[in-house]
């Protein structure tokens, strides 16, 4: 019976927390647009990708409830993202050093 109850306890995120995360996402959008306005040269790709990754992490963890799900979900996502990262980095072995 306790197992059944455990399955029923769904994590509910408060509206306040969602709004806080949303404000954070808007702030990061503001930062990335401002940084692009300043001439950072080749650093602009790096900074904008780092900010995009932070924003995605917020969406994944809070909006997509990854933080509150079973551990297996996080492992799955990590494997998928790592696979993509390997694809991209291996491609650059071909193009960056020919």
């Amino acid at each position: 019976m306790s197992q059944h109850e455990e399955q029923h306890t769904q994590h509910s995120v408060s509206y306040g927390k969602y709004i806080l995360i949303w404000l954070g996402l808007l702030a990061f959008t503001g930062i990335t647009v401002t940084l692009a306005g300043i001439n950072l040269g080749r650093w602009v790709i790096l900074t904008s990708l780092v900010i995009a990754s932070i924003k995605s992490t917020l969406v994944l963890n809070i909006f997509m409830h990854l933080k509150f799900e079973d551990k297996i979900f996080r492992i799955f996502v990590l494997v998928a993202v790592a696979t993509l990262a390997i694809f991209i980095s291996l491609t650059f072995f071909d193009y960056a050093f020919y």
Binding site: L25, T32, V33, A36, G41, V44, A52, F87, I88, A96
Partner: protein, 206 residues
């Protein structure tokens, strides 16, 4: 509620399994867009100046507004799940409805953006575009394919949310069973995440 109904609910439902299924599907989407991101990365690496020049044609303001719209639509769909968990059916329906309206506004912006590009002669295979250097042709090719595929996902997401809206109205999604809404929300957030990367890569190149 009797124990019999609770047990039958358990034999027919596996919410964790449903969500794992949805996540697995999202990974195939990640690989689909991932392939395009790889193509983008390689060509941007090969033609950095031409990409920079081509990106000047895009309006950063339109991109920023659309980013804000999508982030807000993610907020409303996330809140709709909290609302249904609390049994607030009408609030939940209102929030899903708002998400759909944000999606429509996003697409209307996209429509005006694309039609402006097309009116100045920048579209795949246009004589104007073919006269440009190869890097710019590739930039606009990728722009149309990637934002186009993304827009297609926005349309699909809208249809999924519309179904969710009907299910909530009919009580098929309710306080006890809302995994369908969660799956729809997950899809919508993925569309948001893809835009989070598309936006700086196409609009924010100095």
């Amino acid at each position: 509620m009797t124990t019999a109904t609770i047990e039958s609910a358990h034999t027919h439902r596996d919410d964790v399994g449903s969500k794992i299924g949805m996540w697995l599907f999202l990974f195939t989407e990640l690989i689909l867009f991932g392939g395009l991101f790889i193509v983008y990365a390689v060509y941007r690496f090969k033609f950095p100046e031409q990409f920079q020049l081509a990106a000047k044609e895009l309006d950063t303001l339109v991109g920023t507004v659309n980013t804000i719209i999508l982030l807000t639509s993610s907020l409303t769909v996330a809140m709709s799940i909290t609302a249904i968990q609390q049994g607030k059916k009408h609030l939940s329906m209102m929030l899903v409805g708002m998400t759909i309206i944000f999606a429509i506004v996003f697409l209307v912006n996209k429509y005006f953006e694309w039609s402006h590009k097309i009116s100045v002669g920048i579209y795949p295979q246009s004589p104007e575009l073919l006269n440009k250097p190869p890097g710019e042709i590739l930039y606009f090719g990728l722009y149309y394919v990637m934002t186009g595929l993304h827009a297609l996902h926005v349309i699909i997401g809208m249809v999924i949310l519309l179904f969710n809206l009907v299910f909530i109205a009919k009580g098929k999604i309710n306080q006890q069973s809302y995994v369908k809404l969660e799956a729809g929300g997950l899809y919508w957030h993925l569309v948001d995440i893809i835009w989070i990367f598309l936006f700086p890569l196409f609009y924010l190149i100095n």
